[in-house]
Every structure is written in C-alpha cells, then in structure tokens.
C-alpha cells in the first residue's frame, strides 16, 4: 500500500484524520525490519496574520508533517525522521533508523516499548474533544477582518499596534510494534498585540483552542489602555520592591522550572534544583504546582511521544517537593512507571512537564493591587535566562506595561527594570495569589503554564533602562 498525504483542499479538519495517521504508521511499522519500532507522526497546519505599524506586513500559511521512527535491535536504538510519506520515503526512514541502531553502542538503560494500552484509558484519550473545526477553517480574510478594528483604533489614537493572530490545527499519532496506537487531533489559536507610543507600550496575549473565543477587539483595548496609561514613564532606583506579577509574568518565571529540574533526567543526573530535596519544603506553604494535560485551560495532549497516557502529577504540594515526571527510560532507572511525559525521540532533554498549572488563590488582580501600599505592577517579563540553574536564579527585564503602585492604585508608568531573582525564592515570598488563571504558551518549547497573578515581597530589581 502507498500512503498519500491528505487532500490539501480540506478545511476545518485536522491535518491527518485518525485513519490517515493510522495508515501511515502501520505502513512504516510494516516496512521496519527492526526487532521493535516506535513511530511518531506529527502534523501541523498553521496560518498567521502579522501586523505592525497599524498595517498587515506578513501573512503566511504552512502545512508540515514529520514522521519519526525509532528502531531497536537488542539494546541498541537509532532514530530517523522524514517529511517524505510516499512508499519510498517510508521504507527509507525505516531502513535508516535500523542502520543507525545497528551502529549504536549498547545502551543498558534502553527501556522496552509501551505495551498496548488499557482500553478504558484509550477511549478517554480519544474523547478529548480538543479539535475545533472553526479554528482550522479560519481564513486569511477572517483573520484580517479580526485585527482591522484594532489597527484602526490604534491609528486613531496616535498609537502604533503590532502583533499576530495565529490559527491552526495539528495531529499527533504514535504507534509501536507491540500494538500501541494513540491519536490526538487539536486546534490552536493565539492573539498577541503590543501597542506603542513614543515612550510607552502595552501588551496582551491569549491562547484558545477556539479562535472565536479570543475576543481580539476587547483584548486590543487592554493593550491600547496600557500604552496610554504608561506614557511619560517615571523611574525608580534598583532595589527590592513588592511586585504584583500578572499571569504572563508568573508563567515567564515558573515555566523555567520545567527545564531546570522537574523532569526525572536532570534529577537523576544531579543537575536539578530538586536533586536530593524530594520531600523537603522548597517554596512557600501556599504553593501547589501540578502538571495537568487535562486542565481545560491548558492545551495538553492526553499521551506522550512514547504513546503512554499522561498522568496528572503533583510536583510541588503546599511548598513540599513531591515528584518529577518520567518517561520510560527514567522510570526504568528509578524502578517506577512512566508518567507519560516523554519528549519527541531521541528526547535528549529527557521527560518534561509540558502543562504546568499553578493552583490559584482567591484574590482578583484589582484586589492584589489595592492591597499594595507601594509596589510595582509587572505586565510581562522578557528575555528571562538562567543565571544559576541549581539556585533557580534568573535574570530578565520587565516589558510593555510596568506601573508604580502607590496606596493601592496605579499612579504612573515606569521605565523598564532588570531583575535577578530565584524562582523558588519568588514562590517562597508570595504573599497572595490571584484567582483568574490564564494559559501562557512558550512557542519555542511548547510548554504551557496556567497561572494567576502573584503578589511577591522583596522582588529584586538590579538595574533600570533609560532610553
């Protein structure tokens, strides 16, 4: 059989249906001469309308797919991937993975593939209902019409809007020669906008599976309002301040924990901030951090790249370090079971928690501000980087809406500040948490963090930018 790529004219459907994905994976598994084979098909249709200076300057669509084959011979494995899904391409990728496996040194930690799944869990996996046809069917005309009122409003108020509206769909399918098969279609949309004046800016960002829920015009008004309100910014000297971090700023910090040590590989290698600290208190008592692919506000997939169902994991519970996430390799090393967090093969970074959820509090953002005598409201952080991995020490900048809080009110915009802070220290010094949580997706790592606003004392700003 020769598998063909789905018809390109279809709208409002995922890039591969279940049957189409199964056909590709079955064919490549049949073509593989390895003792055991894992095959992963990832496909993505994505369209993006990008605007700047109140006009559309970039408008793109791309239809991509990638088939990855991991071949195993004894204790040796090799991984090959291809974009060619014709019969020749499938044979070639299977043969190449096998050739790499045969040349590989023995790997004593290589796990067995995932067995066929529990049928009850499998049906739950397929009942996700995460694909929204209207998002996949969104047209360039509709995207342009959605952003047009915002661009006009910005121009009318002497401001400059830049941003992007993205719509698309995806499919992930995983199969192995033991009979495991898992398929997940999804849709995604994203609106982000920065509005600038000559000396200020404001920003909004929202992800939804259904693009009709993005509320582009009202979101744009938030960015417009922030840009206007932060005009003629003042300056505060570096030092320690009480801050109210909006949800995106919280996500900008907490998201790094996923890469700094909430995966079992870094924990086992002794590189994690959690290494040797399991069961200890590592943050303030009110902090609970989960990984939950099934949280309706997140965009998680119900299984991982080994086809293992995702488990809900409590990673930090009331400030106590409780768990890290596993794939089959780290689980084998730890004598436990995979939690369904395998990264795409060859998974050099090991398992990763892709859907972090910080348990919210009970205060509105306005209440957090109102309870602050003197402090700083931070809309978002930018270019956060790890200064010291073991200490979870980060540096970065505030951006697009930094305000002085005086006597419970926002009194003026501020020039942007550089911070140096430990993420665990921030969670230790958190005084109150917001109740409205928003998902923030890091597009380059595909980690989603669902977080609400956070009020933190003694947040350490070390520098100020003067333009």
């Amino acid at each position: 059989m020769t598998t063909s790529v789905p018809e390109a004219t279809d709208a409002g459907r995922p890039p591969f249906s279940l049957d189409e994905a199964r056909a590709v994976l079955n064919e490549v598994l049949a073509a593989s001469q390895a003792e055991r084979t894992l095959a992963v098909l990832e496909a993505r249709d994505e369209s993006l309308t990008r605007f700047a200076n109140n006009e559309i300057h970039q408008n793109v669509t791309s239809r991509g797919h990638r088939l990855t084959v991991q071949a195993v011979v004894g204790r040796r494995s090799g991984t090959a991937s291809t974009e060619r899904l014709d019969a020749g391409g499938l044979r070639q990728v299977a043969d190449r993975a096998l050739a790499l496996a045969r040349l590989s040194p023995e790997d004593k930690g290589l796990p067995e593939p995932a067995p066929p799944p529990d049928p009850v869990r499998a049906s739950a996996v397929e009942a996700g209902g995460t694909f929204v046809p209207a998002t996949a069917a969104c047209t360039p005309e509709a995207r342009a019409a959605a952003v047009a009122p915002l661009m006009a409003a910005a121009a009318g108020r002497g401001l400059n809007a830049a941003g992007a509206l993205t719509t698309g769909s995806s499919a992930l399918a995983v199969a192995n020669t033991l009979g495991r098969f898992a398929y997940h279609p999804d849709s995604h949309s994203h609106f982000t906008c920065t509005v600038r004046s000559s000396d200020s800016s404001g920003w909004v960002n929202r992800h939804r599976r259904d693009w009709r829920a993005l509320e582009v015009e009202s979101l744009g008004e938030v960015a417009l309002g922030k840009a206007e309100r932060s005009r003629d910014p003042g300056e505060v000297p570096p030092g320690r301040y009480t801050v109210v971090l909006e949800p995106a700023a919280v996500a900008d910090l907490v998201g790094f924990l996923a890469w700094l040590g909430l995966g079992a590989q870094s924990e086992q290698e002794g590189r994690s901030f959690l290494s040797g600290r399991m069961g200890e208190r590592i943050t303030g008592a009110g902090v609970t951090l989960m990984d939950d692919a099934f949280d309706p506000r997140s965009f998680g997939r119900p299984f991982d790249h080994e086809g293992t169902p995702r488990r809900r994991m409590t990673l930090i519970e009331d400030g106590i370090a409780r768990a890290v996430v596993h794939d089959r390799r780290t689980a084998l090393a730890a004598g436990t079971e995979s939690t369904g967090h395998a990264s795409p093969p060859p998974a050099v970074e090991g398992p990763i928690p892709y859907d972090l959820v910080l348990t919210p509090g009970d205060r509105s953002l306005d209440e957090l501000i109102a309870s602050t005598g003197r402090g700083i409201l931070v809309t978002r952080l930018w270019y956060n980087r790890v200064v010291d991995a073991k200490r979870t020490l980060m540096t970065g900048m505030t951006r697009d809406g930094t305000f002085l809080i005086e006597n419970g009110r926002l009194t003026r915009g501020l020039k942007n500040l550089r911070f140096n802070e430990s993420v665990l220290g921030v969670l230790e010094r958190a005084e109150a948490m917001g109740r409205e949580a928003e998902p923030t997706v890091f597009d380059y790592v595909e980690t989603c963090v669902v977080a609400s606003a956070l009020k933190v004392r003694d947040f350490h700003f070390t520098g100020v930018t003067r333009f």
Partner: protein
C-alpha cells in the same frame, strides 16, 4: 526542483502576483550525542518542501507545504495570492522592492571532508573517547559530547528571472563536563557553550578541535569551579574572550542593526532597537577601536552563503566604523526606506518559513594587541570566558551576561579562578568603554546555532567573529546575593 518552481511561479502569476519567488528546499541533518558513555542521540532527519512568496496589490502572501509535488506547488501559489489580497486590504501604502538584477548561479560550501560521508562508527568512537576522558575526573556527574551536521540544498526562483542553486553544509562539535557536589553545580564546555563550535565547514572542523585532547582539561576546570571563589560584586575592568564577546556582539550589535526591528516589524515579539535611523552615521556606538562588519563572504561562517533567500548576492558591509554607527542589515523591502539596495541578509529557517532579516557573520575586526600583552597591560581585572547566561532588553540596550569561568588579573598576571561571573551594562556605554581589541591570532569566527526571531518563531544559524577585548568600569558580580 526546477519543475516545481516553474509550476508555482506560473500559478502565482496567473493568480495575479506582481512578484513571486519560490524556494524548493531539500535538507538533512544528523545529531550524534554521547552522555556518560551512553548514546543519548543517534538521529538523522530529512526534509523536502516548497515555499511560495508573492506580492499582490502591494501586500505579501506566503504559503508552504511539506508535500513537494506539482499540484501542491500550484495550491501554495494560489493560496499565497489569496492571502496577499487579504494583506493588501489593510495596508496604507504598497510594498515596493529594491531593484535586483536577475541572475543564474550556483554556490556550494567549500568542504575538505564531507561530514555526511564520515562513518557513524568514527563519530561515535570520537565522542566515547572524549567523554571517557572527562569521566576520569571524580567530580564529574555528566560528561557529554555532541556532533551535529546540516545540509541544505535549495533552489530559489523568482518571477524576475533569477534561478539560484545552493548547497550549504554546516558542522558542529563540542564537549561539556558537569561537576557537582552537595551544594553546587558547575560546568565547563569546549570549545564553546551551546554544543561547541559551529562552522560552514566539514569534518575538518571536528578534526581541528581535537575533542579527546581537550577532555581532561575541560573536566578538571569544571571540577575546580566547585571550590573556586565567587566572582566579586562591584565595578571592574574585564577582558572577554572571543567566544563570550561573539555572543555580546550578536545580542548588542547584530540584533539592533536589523532594519526590520528598527522599523517596528518585530515590535510584538523580538522587539525593536535603540539604533533608530536618526542615529545612522551619527551615534558613537563604541570607542575608536570598535569596527564591526556584516560579512556573508568570510570563510567558515554560518552566515556565509552565495545568495540570501531573496536572491541577493552575499556582501560585506560596515555596521560600525571607528566607533561610529554607519549601517544596518537590510532586505529588498526595507532598504528602499533608506534609499539603499538590499545588502543581502534575508534568510528563512526552512521551506516552511518566510525569509527575515538575519545576521550573517557580524565580525569585530581584530586590533593590534596580543592576548598576553593585553593581560600584562591590565593591573586589576577579571578575564571572563565562555557564555553561561545571556539576557538583553527588547531594544537591545540593557544587558546582563554570565560566563562559565573567570580568572582574576592582578598586576598583569592571570591569577586564581572565579566562578559565577556576571557582568551588566548599557550597550553604547559598554562598547565606548572598550579600549583594546586583540589581534588576528586570537580571532575566531564563532557559530551561533540557535538564534530565534519572528512569528512563527524561526531558528537561524549565524556567526560572529571576535578576538578578546578589554572593557573598563563594568559592573560585575550582579545577581548573586539574591
């Protein structure tokens, strides 16, 4: 490839495109990684796809597909035109491209030994040897070695008559040792962070680096860092080695010189730039000893090619001359706004991405100092080497960097090792504090394989040439004590 390009160009023009270009790109890559004697990655990847970019009614449209067949090429062309019409409805003025002479040509990365013809066994054995040597140091928890290779064959064809074929090959190699004790984690890389050194070159790069020969020293340095004193906090004279300075150049000169950032095209994501057009030809970006060029023609650079992804020939242009800011990185769309022609910096990550202004090779030209003379000339300072942390604001003004290793300099001599070195500053103030740049013997063209920009986000390989240089009155040791 040519047939696909023809079909797409014809379809685009029939659908009303005033301008169209097509890129058909076939790519492959290989990654070999060994960690603690285990093969942590043996991976190969192959890709083939087509991207069609059109101008209709003065607006851009782009459509791309991994299915590189004639019908899909025509679908992409028609869809790109439809998208362009949607763009054009919301433009205040039409996009106009700088003129470009049509050209037919080919270009290939010069290779001594094609890395895709080197056996996997040779590659694995090399990394096993290097990581085994690092594991001889007891404090080493993780000993890792990585080899990466990329090949890209691409055809560019435009409705103006250009037809350009290129084969670009990039190679990368490096090792890293992680040392830990009960309280600390430190690491040391060779020859650079982020997986090592990357060049537009073949296996000869790997041979030249001699990873096994540097493994023991790399591991010993990582272990020694555990007990090294903390970098002091204060204001100091610093000397940055070429590898660290290359990332400083990348972040604080390369990015702000991108004209699309300056014009606000990246305002929502990568950011804008403090190098606004009123500064062109006027701003004292650095001291008199600072000369920076964008050179897409220099050997071994990851930003070296025959033609950019708009078909513009590779060029060498001044960005900073004797400290004065004199030039931008431009494209056919942006250059006319300055009354110029494109200087050829548009590149796309893949067939599925639209080309953007990207750094080519941003090089700090060598100065007169030998590194030994520069250290001998420094009474009191810190030598910082190899990047560990990097952050800069959205206008590329306020930065903070950290390095893997530092050494005290006292009375012209290199002294004890320091750990957790950081420094921070404001870009033009920092470059104006530069009073010495080392010579060509100390100069290297350092590859950066992970430069991110654009929506959807694209990763690009760029390079920055640099030798060691000295900077006065820099704030150091920031961050610790938090």
């Amino acid at each position: 490839m040519h047939d696909l390009a023809d079909r797409a160009l014809n379809a685009a023009q029939l659908a009303g495109a005033a301008y169209a270009d097509v890129r058909v790109v076939e790519s492959r890559s290989q990654m070999v990684e060994v960690k603690n004697q285990r093969p942590s990655a043996l991976q190969e990847s192959a890709g083939l796809g087509i991207g069609v970019r059109v101008l209709v009614d003065g607006g851009w449209g782009f459509a791309a597909s991994a299915s590189a067949d004639p019908a899909e090429a025509e679908r992409c062309a028609a869809l790109a035109c439809r998208i362009a019409r949607a763009s054009a409805r919301f433009r205040t003025k039409p996009i106009v491209l700088a003129p470009l002479a049509a050209k037919r040509a080919t270009y290939e990365t010069p290779l001594v030994r094609d890395p895709f013809r080197v056996s996997l066994a040779e590659k694995i054995d090399l990394l096993l040897d290097a990581t085994r040597a690092m594991q001889g140091e007891p404090a080493i928890a993780v000993a890792q070695g990585t080899l990466r290779f990329w090949e890209e064959k691409k055809l560019f064809a435009s409705s103006e008559g250009s037809r350009l074929e290129q084969r670009l090959v990039h190679s990368g190699a490096g090792i890293c040792a992680y040392a830990r004790d009960d309280r600390d984690l430190q690491w040391r890389s060779y020859p650079n962070a982020f997986g090592g050194q990357y060049e537009a070159a073949g296996w000869e790069l790997v041979e030249r680096l001699d990873l096994p020969g540097h493994a023991a020293e790399t591991a010993a340095t990582a272990a020694a860092l555990l007990s090294a004193p903390q970098c002091p906090a204060g204001v100091a004279t610093i000397i940055l080695d070429g590898a660290q300075l290359s990332l400083q150049i990348h972040e604080s000169c390369g990015h702000p010189a991108e004209l699309d950032r300056v014009l606000g095209h990246e305002a929502n994501y990568a950011g804008t730039s403090f190098l606004t057009p009123d500064h062109l030809g006027v701003l004292r970006y650095g001291s008199d000893v600072v000369n920076l060029v964008a050179d897409a023609t220099v050997p071994r650079g990851l930003g070296t090619f025959g033609f950019d992804d708009e078909g513009v020939p590779a060029q060498k242009v001044d960005l900073v001359r004797e400290g004065r800011f004199v030039g931008y990185l431009t494209s056919r769309e942006t250059a006319p706004m300055l009354g110029q022609a494109s200087n050829g910096t548009m590149r796309a990550e893949s067939w599925g991405h639209i080309p953007l202004i990207r750094m080519t090779n941003i090089n700090l030209e060598p100065g007169p100092w030998t590194i030994d003379d520069l250290i001998a000339d420094t009474a009191d300072g810190i030598l910082m080497t190899t990047n560990r942390s990097w952050s800069i604001d959205d206008r590329r003004y306020n930065f903070q960097f950290g390095t893997e290793v530092g050494w005290e300099i006292r009375n012209g001599k290199r002294g004890r090792m320091l750990k957790n070195c950081t420094y921070t500053g404001i870009t033009p103030r920092f470059w104006n504090s530069c009073d010495a740049v080392c010579d060509a013997a100390d100069w290297e063209i350092w590859g950066t394989a992970n430069c991110g920009k654009g929506q959807p986000s694209q990763t690009m390989r760029t390079a920055q040439g640099a030798s060691s240089a000295r900077f006065r009155e820099v704030e150091v040791g920031v961050g610790y004590g938090t």
